[in-house]
Symmetry: C2
Amino acid sequence: MQILKQKILQSGKIYPNNVLKVDSFLNHQVDVALLAELSKELFRLYKDSGVTKILTIETSGIMLACLTAQVFNVPMLYAKKTKTSNMSEDVFTAQVFSYTHYKEYTIYVSKEYLSSSDKVLLIDDFLANGFSMKGLVQLAQSAGATVVGAGVAIEKGFQGGGDILRSLGLRIEAMAIIDSMTEEGIIFRE
Amino acid sequence: MQILKQKILQSGKIYPNNVLKVDSFLNHQVDVALLAELSKELFRLYKDSGVTKILTIETSGIMLACLTAQVFNVPMLYAKKTKTSNMSEDVFTAQVFSYTHYKEYTIYVSKEYLSSSDKVLLIDDFLANGFSMKGLVQLAQSAGATVVGAGVAIEKGFQGGGDILRSLGLRIEAMAIIDSMTEEGIIFRE
């Protein structure tokens, strides 16, 4: 989407180790009006897929997931990174490797809220190496749910996770795909 | 709000140690349509306060904060519980005591996104002992911002945090205040 690409070019900052700092509008301070536009585009793309639930992972996927759930008029569900005391004992789990913290962690979803009758749309703010998205697919599959596809704000295409997941059959709609990100600038995939 | 009280009575589960499990609609699976109703009520209550920013704390306050920011048409900002690598070095911090984990932790907001010209509405899903809310007030005050008030979904009135903060001058609007929560049922404050 042009509106997101413009925002990335205006406000995004490139740091070493392929870090794109977009915390002025995406994952710290949040431009909710912009995300609402992305959620409408995701609705346009997935409106005929019979989506019954939006699934994301805490924390930074939650805002887009929440607004997308509102447009689809379905519940959202976020996988947790810690098993809180008031969480049901019966959980689906998946392992996710965090490149940022260089360790594997477990994500949890209560079995009460995901079932084989669900058609799930997976949402996240970023898709880079694809580890988080793979974890979400696994959670949904553990429940026997159908994954209709994924929607992300920014895909770092040069990190390859999105293309690997696509080759495995996952439909992924990224609102902006970055193919190259250097000191000379950002190049988006057409 | 009647709609929230009904939902709590229908779907909330009471556990030992004053735990109210509402993760079927508030903080794991999320009834976004319900939260959108709460956000509209918060807009009605605070629409004349000149709100420029919605401030919450990760994770479970984010959904209501996001929808409220949408209604007010202002950015939202969430305080982080870890200082991530792509966060600016210049941060406001506050200490928050977690009753759940029985330890104090630090919350962070980048100085770039909160200033003395901001009029801040604080949002959270729960208000119990008030420690998180106090941390948010401190963050806003560190920036010299004006706190116009707070909006929460569920206040556990019997835990007293809300009334202490009100006595210190903070305006708090809770969509449902629970005055008593026992095996015999839930009693709401009128």
